[in-house]
Amino acid sequence: MTRIQELFSDQLNVINVGIESFSNDLREQNTPVTNLEWMPPGGGNPKLIAALDKLEEPDMAKKIEAANKEAVERIIQSQPILTGYEQAIHVVPGMTKTTILHAGPPIEWDRMNGPMKGAVTGAIVFEGLAKDLKEAEEVASSGSITFSPCHEHNCVGSMAGVTSASMFVHIVENKTYGNIAYTNLSEQMSKILRMGANDETVIERLNWMRDVFGPMLRDAMKLNKEGIDLRLMLAQALHMGDECHNRNVAGTTLLIQALTPYIIQTDFTVQQQKEVFEFVLSSDYFSGPTWMAMAKCALDAAHGIEHSTIVTTMARNGTDFGIRVSGAPGDTWFTGPAQLVIGPMFAGYKPEDSGLDIGDSAITETYGIGGFAMATAPAIVALVGGTIDDAIGYSTKMREITTAENPNVTIPMLDFMGIPSGIDVRKVIQSGVLPIINTAIAHKEAGVGMIGAGITHPPMEAFEKAILHLVESK
């Protein structure tokens, strides 16, 4: 039977685009109808529509489909293994004693926001490059410090992401593709360096992490020859109600449970071990950076595939939001202004106290967890508007701008749908739907710290620049 004859004999089922009253008339006739939340592609910008058209020409589309298939396969097939912990200076490529890595796309000292400056000066004091914060500011602006994005050193850093030579980092190796990713350790609490706090309590904690916490984790993992399969653990954590960006209760429990048998075999005293366990217990966030490094490890394996329109990085430095796309190899960033984060605040703070969106943690959303997996974390729906339906809506909506579902990491609530993976720049421009990001809010001034959490989006501008670049470079 031809398609038209099928139409004549089947129940009509309509997708309505544009005038909503047409869908009401159909409903009145008991005809199933879906009214699209339609927006003009590219916000109606003819240049962007022309770019979409160009990428959809059959030959080009074929190349892109093949490249994206490979990119997404590499994301999904990546098996990131936590193999150890070490000081950054010994393992991070390009790290020097005067290098400070930061979150997001490249930024110079003058354009850094409050929390970023707070973290940078704190790190300078911590590294002994200045005697106090005042002198640290002079050092920071003197040109003697090399500022560079974490992402350009196989690293990610949460919030300010400030990573300096003597800080301990996770080492995460991609068993499938061989690349390695790094990220520093959670400072727990809220008044911490990555949130822009930098007083002596913050520096003291960093010292302890350098002298006790980090070395203990390093020595423990030396005893674990197999390493820890992070993707497997991530999948478990999602089934236990974490989305692994803003909720890390389950993941942290699983991770410390896996580390404990080795920690207790190290040469550190029981008292020191007790301090470490209490430190881990003091905040759910201990595993937060771990998932970031895991995601980074998988996404780096998918970067640099010719013709691919898959997003491999979303990162913010508190001033700019930057993305990287697989088909634009190396350190090609597409940026736009960092956005406000909307959500509940800690007592005593108001929305106007918020610093703009900051951190490399959006690497989790780039992988398909965090805001993308909101449906699996009903316990924290207050962050996204308050209802479970909202949370489910966010996860299903993200399927519209992604390429595949990751069968290794699933969401029970959505009938074990795989997390939506492989954000496609073309789909973002076509639909006007932006990725959703769950994230923390740092105070806009240096020295204060975390004041809330909520959701935000990248600026559309970054995706617009990316698609224009992809067209021009063809």
Partner: protein
């Protein structure tokens, strides 16, 4: 300023819910600052930093819930804590997962709804072709309501649809009925064995309504868009539509309606008619009888004629029908009442084909017939806002709809134009259409009524006999209430025409002077 503390022993609320609670509590009137948190060391540190630490708070355990409120006056305390408790005990919504799923793109919706088979697209012409292409790529039939789509896009969309065996109705297609479901602007009509392929929206509506009125029914009504039979597009959808209806076991008679096609396309369509095994009624407005007859088609000059032929071919006995003949008596009486200077017809139409039909009927007796849709450039109005001699205005034409809804939805433009025409002493009759059905205004006659009453009264005061003919296009099944609309018209002293064809004929005959009558 006072700080009041309530410690709820052994009460657990998770930290994210508490942050949200605190945020809401801070909006309660009279609260300077509120902190609702579990008694952990970290939270105590926050409270200490905020300068709100009390002995009770210091003593709270990690398993205790702390409610700390800084307020202007102690008297307010009771009310404030009550409101906080209300927030905490707010009724929960347990209707989980009942929200309808939403989609932003055709692709996403089509992938998720395997039963979807038609996309109705009504977006700005700049984006329309792109969306239609996406829909076809998803194997959806398309009804493209949008206009301002380039001919090149129309050709490539129809080519793609033809290759895939899909319907590509439009661009600029406003009317279709598929499986007895009306899409966009269409009327509720009986299901039956007559199929229509129409390049004209209101022409198709008129046919379906007349067929219904004669007791027949519609199997499918396929719209093609107004430009389908142009030489460039080549009638792709018209040809596929005839083919589809020929194959459809529930269709016994086919009616095609269009403005006269480009001659090459007319040849193709008539060749198709010739080889079609089912009877085909052809209504090409102002078209040639010989060619249609030579192709073995059933020629219809006007709409009612076309409908009548179709229902008779579909098996209904003509003898049993009320064919609504013209009221000759009324025509004679009206002609006598007209003053000698009342020579002209003014037609104000919301439906393009209804306008076209009335114009062609007038052209049979008069030469000085002007319109904004006249094919003869000599008689095309230079300024569509100024009438001359016999004038027929299609108010749905682009120049009237820039930035405004179609007159079938928004009657305001026609009301203003009507007032002008009614004041013109050279005008004898004003003829108008009122289109009912899905998509249309909920009370089109009612919207025009005050203007009609005023005009009739003013004419009477000036000793003129101004005739107003109204045709209501609709069936008794349409939601606007056909009978009520007709009654309103008649009560206001307007003449009700029973079809588009009769409306055109009555208008013409009313102003015919002695020699031609």
């Amino acid at each position: 300023m006072t700080v009041q503390v309530l410690i709820k022993k052994n009460t657990y609320i998770d930290s994210v819910s508490l942050m949200s609670l605190s945020t809401k509590a801070n909006e309660i009137e009279g609260i300077e600052q509120a902190i609702i948190a579990m008694g952990t060391e970290m939270n105590k540190e926050v409270i200490e930093n905020a300068g709100l630490m009390t002995e009770d708070t210091e003593a709270a355990a990690a398993s205790d819930l702390m409610i700390i409120v800084k307020m202007a006056s102690r008297e307010e305390g009771e009310r404030i804590f009550e409101e906080i408790h209300e927030l905490m005990n707010k009724k929960k919504d347990t209707s989980l997962g009942t929200t309808e799923k939403t989609y932003s793109t055709i692709q996403a919706a089509a992938e998720d709804i395997p039963d979807a088979n038609v996309a109705v697209i009504a977006v700005n012409g700049l984006y329309a072709a792109r969306e239609a292409r996406k829909a076809l790529e998803e194997n959806l039939h398309v009804m493209l309501f949008s206009d301002n789509v380039s001919v090149e896009d129309e050709i490539s969309l129809k080519k793609l649809a033809h290759e895939k065996g899909l319907l590509m109705m439009g661009p600029d297609c406003g009317t279709a009925i598929i499986g007895n479901t009306a899409l966009c602007f269409a009327n509720k009509v009986r299901k039956g064995n007559i199929g229509i392929v129409g390049a004209s929206g209101t022409g198709s509506q008129e046919l379906s309504v007349r067929i219904h009125d004669f007791g027949g029914g519609i199997s499918q009504l396929i719209g093609t868009g107004g430009r389908d039979l142009s030489e460039a597009v080549g009638g792709v959808m018209m040809l596929d539509g005839i083919e589809a209806l020929e194959q459809d076991p529930n269709t016994d008679v086919i009616v095609v309606v269009s403005k006269p096609p480009a001659s090459k396309v007319e040849e193709k369509v008539l060749a198709k008619v010739k080889q079609c095994k089912k009877p085909v009624v052809v209504w090409f407005i102002g078209g040639s009888e010989e060619k249609v007859k030579a192709a073995g088609g059933h020629f219809a000059k006007m709409s009612k004629e076309a409908a009548l032929q179709a229902v008779v071919l579909s098996g209904i006995d003509e003898e049993t029908l009320d064919t609504h003949p013209l009221n000759i008596q009324l025509i004679k009486e009206t002609q006598v009442k007209m003053k000698p200077e009342q020579r002209y017809i003014r037609g104000l139409f919301s439906g393009g084909t209804l306008c076209d039909e009335a114009m062609h009927i007038a052209l049979e007796k008069f030469d000085n017939v002007y319109s904004n849709i006249q094919p003869d450039p000599a008689y095309r109005l230079k300024d569509a806002s100024i009438s001359q001699a016999h004038t027929f205005i299609d108010l749905g034409d682009d120049q009237f709809t820039q930035g405004k809804p179609h007159p079938m939805i928004d009657p305001s433009t026609r009301i203003e134009r009507f007032k002008e025409e009614a004041r013109d002493p050279s005008v004898g009759v004003i003829v108008m259409d009122f289109v009912l059905g899905f998509g249309s205004h909920e009370d089109p006659v009612g919207a025009m009524l005050p203007a009609i009453i005023d005009a009739k009264q003013e004419a009477e005061e000036q000793g003129r006999s101004l005739e107003i003919i109204g045709y209501v296009l609709g069936t008794e099944l349409d939601s606007q209430n056909l009978e009520g609309q007709i009654n309103k018209l008649q009560a206001a002293g307007a003449v009700h025409a029973s079809s588009s064809q009769n409306a055109g004929l009555l208008a013409r005959e009313f102003v015919v002077k002695g020699e031609k009558s």
